[in-house]
């Protein structure tokens, strides 16, 4: 009997998670005897994820690795899974401590926050000037954590001035309008930082349509395949992202080790993650994968072919 791992994502049809699934499949093939059930709700809601989790529990999977739409709301369902002997971990977007054994951050939150600020500063002459944040929904855990980190580390960049934070809800049209609003109402904003692909894309488009390429830059976190156009148009000089394939790969590795009882996943333990080496579980049961990687016009096309 194969080991069944449920890879639960925020919503299906998102390039980032499709890429993560690729990594998970790679890990499954490498480990052998592992079936990945790639699943998730249609829209990014907690209720939808709970239905998916219930279905996984009913199928008696061995492990669930989830990127949560809501850190609290899925906890009761995941607890039920744990009671029925299912190993639960979260990755990418975390679940509260009592709902999972461990959480795999794509990178450390400090590093991501810092990276976003550094990208902003790099786009500004002398690292001085106004910038604004265009986020996803106001409820998404990871974006909020990163924004909090950015605010915490802002004093390290004395020239940077955060003007406002707006939310595009990961909808192309809303993000576009919010970006447009930023351009009109804050003419001094020279950089828009969007820690989400839809946001960077829409903002680049808005900047381009407003004819402000070269005056206003957009940066943030996005997939190379989706961002290539923005980079070529000049709206974006650089952006960053970790490798989602590696993320899916690592999450699968961790879940497998837990099922095989090679580790208990307690803080302090070091877990074998195949080609990613050993991953150390820190306080709060959180583990981090690697630094985000910066892409620009020179390397974006090469990576766009991969993810």
């Amino acid at each position: 009997e194969n080991i069944k791992i449920g890879l639960v994502v925020k919503s299906l049809g998102n390039g980032f998670f499709e890429a993560a699934n690729k990594g998970a499949q790679e890990a499954a093939k490498e480990l052998g005897g592992v079936d990945i059930i790639y699943t998730g709700p249609t829209t990014t809601t907690a209720e939808g994820q709970i239905e998916v989790i219930n279905a996984l529990i009913a199928q008696k999977v061995d492990a669930i690795a989830i990127s949560a739409n809501d850190p609290d709301a899925v906890v009761p369902a995941l607890k039920k899974a744990a009671q029925r002997g299912i190993k639960v971990i979260s990755w990418d977007s975390g679940v509260n401590k009592d709902g999972r054994i461990l959480h795999l951050n794509p990178s450390s939150n400090e590093l991501i926050g810092n990276m976003c600020l550094k990208l902003a500063a790099d786009h500004l002459p002398g690292g001085k000037g106004d910038f604004a944040i265009l986020s996803a929904t106001s409820t998404s855990t990871n974006q909020n954590t990163w924004i909090a980190e950015m605010k915490k580390q802002l004093p390290k960049y004395p020239g940077l001035n955060l003007v406002t934070t707006v939310y595009g809800d990961d909808l192309a049209d809303k993000s576009y309008r919010e970006a447009q609003g930023l351009l009109t109402s804050h003419p001094n904003v020279k950089v828009i930082v969007a820690p989400t692909t839809v946001g960077v894309l829409a903002a680049s488009q808005a900047v381009k349509d407003a004819g402000k390429i070269g005056q206003v830059y957009v940066t943030g976190l996005g997939l190379p395949s989706e961002m290539a156009g923005a980079v070529h148009s000049g709206a974006t000089k650089q952006f960053a992202i970790w490798n989602p394939i590696d993320l899916g790969y690592s999450a699968t590795q961790l879940a497998y080790r837990l099922v095989k009882k090679e580790t208990d996943g307690k803080p302090g333990s070091e877990i074998n993650a195949g080609r990613m080496g050993k991953i150390k579980v820190g306080d709060n049961g959180e583990a981090a994968m690697a630094d985000p990687f910066v892409y620009d016009a020179k390397n974006v096309d090469e990576f766009a072919k991969i993810f």
């Binding site: 998102n14 707006v166 309008r177 609003g181 488009q205 395949s225 989706e226």
Partner: protein, 339 residues
Amino acid sequence: MSRILKYRELLLVAIIIVLIAAFSYRAPGYASPKSLANIFNDTSILIILALGQMAVIMTKSIDLSVAANLSFTGMAVAMLNAAYPGIPLPLLILTALAIGAILGAINGFMVWKIGIPAIVATLGTLTIYRGTAFVLSGGAWVNQTQMTPVFLNTPRMPVLGLPLLGWTAILVIAIVSVVFTRTIFGRSLYASGGNPTAALYAGVDVGRTKFFAFVLSGALAGLCGYLWVSRYAVAYVDIAAGFELDTVAACVIGGISTLGGIGSVGGAVLGALFLGVIKNALPVINISPFWQMAISGLVIIIAVLFNARQERRKGRLILRDAAKRRPSRIEAPVEGAAA
């Protein structure tokens, strides 16, 4: 004064002007011609969709599948463009119109030939069309880099200060106006919704009229599929999610009766513009993002309230001399009970 404002359209124009004035007080430059052209351009897609929705609502039906149709068609033409960059743009636009029209025709067929209530048929196809878009694309996005520059840039090409997207909306408004006021089909739309029995007796085929209303709505949604994808330079399954309700709201704010038979092209356009101004302005005048949803909800309710006051039945005058006395007595609580 009251004679001028008798027309709902003028009232809406006034409200929109007041809104723009108020907004430009908070954000100077908001009322500049460039900014206004920008707002119109931004609202173009909603206007086009609202006009299709209006044709359907006019016949006492509703099309909840417009946004799903847009998503499917947008995905389809984006994938076509990505896979065969050689296909000329006009052909792609025709394809979008055709796919949209076919999806609309499916709705229309169910309403006409099977007799399923429109709201049910389109509630069903709403999920089916979007689901099919997912199946078609396997959930993958079509990104900017995969689409050709012509495909992406044509609607943005400015002509006399307004991008082609805005001109497209103007063209659609013109065509739909002629269809509504000057063609047999247009008059049949009013008749079928206003009094279906009477329409039947007058030789109007109510079912067929509904069918073509759905085809029109579908074709316009298909066109918007292309426009949307090129505007935001990305195609994915969830685009325009929930937009169907915006189109209905635009129609109703514009005075199109959900009971059918009442409304004008101007009303639908203004209703859409009203929503467009609100949506565009809130980010610009720096309203906290958390307040935007509540404000737009409130504004919709207020607009509907205003509309309803305009539409209050005047009451027939049986007493000959009542007309003279009327102004002083108009406050009397007489209309109330006869709802």
